[in-house]
Amino acid sequence: MWQRDGGQLFKKNFFFSFCVKRAVLRCLFVHFLLHSSYQLFVINPSFLCFRPALLREQHYQYLKKGLRHLSDAYECLDASRPWLCFWILHSLELLEEPIPTAVASDVCQFLARCQSPTGGFAGGPGQHAHLAPTYAAVNALCIIGTEEAYNVINREKLLDFLWSVKQPDGSFVMHVGGEVDVRSAYCAASVASLTNILTPKLFEDTTNWILSCQNWEGGLSGVPGLEAHGGYTFCGTAALVILGKEHMLDLKALLRWVVSRQMRFEGGFQGRCNKLVDGCYSFWQAGLLPLLHRALFKEGESELSRQRWMFEQQALQEYILLCCQNPAGGLLDKPGKSRDFYHTCYCLSGLSIAQHFGNMDLHHEMILGKEENRLAPTHPVYNICPEKVSQALQHFHRLPVPYENNPRSSHPTGRPSVEMRAGV
């Protein structure tokens, strides 16, 4: 048991009954709010004692199997296979389960087959390059973190690919002949910064384009004019952090918007105002709080907490552990929905955010339930473990920034990268 906010200590039995009630109510509420499923969460003794357990072993088996084999239900993700690699590898690293060397090497070789001859990574071998699987592939390779993994990435071609999807207005299309939205800026900034191919010219006007996605609600939309949305808000904000321009957002308005996305009853986050809770927003939304905390700190804000993010960490952990776990392994959106690797990744990522405040210098943990529920911390910009971020940066910063072979770039010679503000 731990101290409630404000340092008040509850008597054990009152705490027990109050918190069981709240936890049970939370789960029941979510069920009745939505679905016809008669099967509530498994009445696991650990839940009733209000020491909810992360079903580590079950999740591990689910992930271990998925990394090799997936049923035909996954045909719809046949153009997102690097994503499957990332979601599974990141989940395993959060669970602190080691990746066997042979598997790691196999992933490297598979991702190498997903790399396009013209640069970037595709959703599968033989497909066209696309910024989303590019992001996922680079992240997966950085999680593996071996020389073999780093060497898969053809940095020169990757830079060519990024130039090929750059638009005159500062935005990026997701793939040649494809659609524009703020995800692309994040994917591009993430891979460019990690692999040290980032130049100011590449992201010229991107900052202003992203800023134009902040709307009247305070959050960011996919393209200017649309509704503020958790996924897009994360992408835009994280991209600006990478570019060192997050202070140009209306941080106060953004902060108000994101904290308002936490559901007072469910404890989890919604993606948009007046919509339903979803476990994946545990990362996309809650992950904004560490970014904003740091941004406000850099702006000279003196009243920031030294112990907690500005969301209810306990409530989010409760939602994830009590409502988002499949007893057979894997995590999910909300009770009644089926498990998948995307939700497994982002529910666990959100759980990690909720458990860990601060960084390596100032670190405060708040683990709901057993100590074994503790996950590894995750980097709020890249969503891979912080050690993997620094390791990758170290490796790639020893290499020169490739020549810009882009006719649209007026500087044919290579230029050193901007000062890294990845914030590790």
Binding site: R68, H69, L70, S71, D72, A73, Y74, E75, C76, L77, D78, A79, R81, W83, L84, C85, A102, Q109, F110, R113, G124, P125, G126, H128, M174, H175, G177, G178, E179, R183, N215, W216, G222, V223, G225, L226, E227, H229, A253, V259, S260, G271, C273, N274, K275, W284, F297, S302, L304, S305, M310, F311, D333, S338, D340, Y342, D361, L362, G423, V424
Partner: protein, 355 residues
């Protein structure tokens, strides 16, 4: 990248399928082409157990792609490939290449994409494809009605709204949109997408500078709030519309909100009041006629609301409201009479490190 990536197998849609039960390798039409199996390597990872049909269609698709074949059979095969996985953006791209190379009937393509979107409205590729066809035809005449139909099935479909905003802006179809929005808000006053569209239409037409427009919108918000006091969208819209010019700028607004507080209170109303007080404090820095006493009073009221929200009315956001209170106190340079103790901190002094 977001919720669209969940593993739901989509029901098959039979549209334009030349062969349903036969493998292509048994078809005379395809006998000249050597199918290209997927190169997953010797030790595959995330290996999907494709159905026989899936493997077959994509083995031939890869063959066509390799040869850059521009033919009717290639075009027909893209439909098969799309049916099996509508998220395969490589197939969609190829289909567009073929549409142009073979000078296909774009009206027929509109019918095709209409059917596909109806079946799979939450897919990025289908909407992007529709946009391309509309652009090529330079004909948006079906769009508003089509999107309205999709929205009638899911009034918050993000792709649908994105497409709608693009059509309206590109082809200047603003005239009836405010009415459309109001109808949606009649159906569901909590539809945040509709509130966003309201903001979109007004900001691109009349704008929010005209005080008559602002007053009209305030009235609209307040009347929706009276009907549904706990509707966060309405409160967010009210604030969002006014924040650039200052919440204290419309005369009598604070009073109207204080009135509502008695009968239609909500955490959102209280937050709005806080914002009004904060705005008044910020503006009082510029105005000389706001006395020190008045400033202290506004600050006290603002901090009271923070405490109320943090400890009673909006406890899920306690950390946030406490921070706002501390921040406001700090900015205003003085303490409110409620004398909230500072948040318990680490014994270690000095700046927190957040490198």
């Amino acid at each position: 990248m977001f919720a669209s990536a969940s593993s739901v197998k989509v029901a098959a849609l039979t549209v334009n399928t030349p062969s349903v039960n036969f493998n292509l390798k048994y078809e005379k039409e395809w006998a000249d082409l050597e199918p290209v199996p997927q190169d997953d390597g010797p030790n595959p990872v995330v290996k999907i157990a494709y159905s026989e049909k899936f493997s077959d269609v994509y083995d031939y698709f890869r063959a066509l792609l390799k040869n850059d074949e521009r033919s009717d059979r290639a075009f027909a095969l893209t439909a098969e490939a799309i049916e099996l996985n509508a998220a395969n953006y490589t197939v969609w791209h190829y289909r567009r290449v073929l549409l142009q190379a073979l000078s296909k009937d774009l009206r027929e393509e509109m019918r095709y994409i209409t059917a596909i979107i109806e079946e799979q409205p939450k897919n990025y590729q289908v909407w992007h494809h529709r946009r391309m066809v509309v652009e090529w035809l330079n004909d948006p005449s079906e769009e508003l009605e089509f999107i309205a139909d999709i929205l009638s099935q899911d009034a918050k479909n993000y792709h649908a709204w994105q497409h709608r905003q693009w059509v309206i802006q590109e082809y200047k179809l603003w005239d009836n949109e405010l009415k459309f929005v109001e109808n949606l808000l009649e159906d569901d006053v909590r539809n945040n997408s509709a509130w966003n569209q309201r903001h979109f239409v007004i900001s691109h037409t009349t704008g929010f500078s005209d005080p008559a427009i602002v007053e009209r919108e305030i009235q609209y918000c307040l009347s929706q709030i009276r009907k549904a006091p706990h509707n966060e969208s309405a409160w967010n819209y009210l604030k969002g519309m006014l924040q650039d010019r200052g919440l204290s700028s419309p005369p009598g607004l604070l009073e109207r909100v204080l009135e509502l507080k008695e009968t239609h209170c909500s955490p959102y109303l209280l937050a709005f009041l806080f914002d009004c007080y904060e705005d008044a404090l910020e503006n009082s820095n510029q105005k000389e006629n706001v006395g020190e006493e008045e400033r202290k009073d506004i600050l006290r009221k603002a901090l009271e609301i923070c405490d109320l929200l943090a400890n009673e009315k909006d406890t899920i956001r306690k950390e946030y409201w406490l921070f706002l209170g501390r921040s406001l106190e700090n900015k205003s340079g003085s303490r409110g009479p409620s004398d909230k103790p500072p948040e318990p901190s680490d014994p270690a002094s000095g700046q927190q490190e957040m490198s």
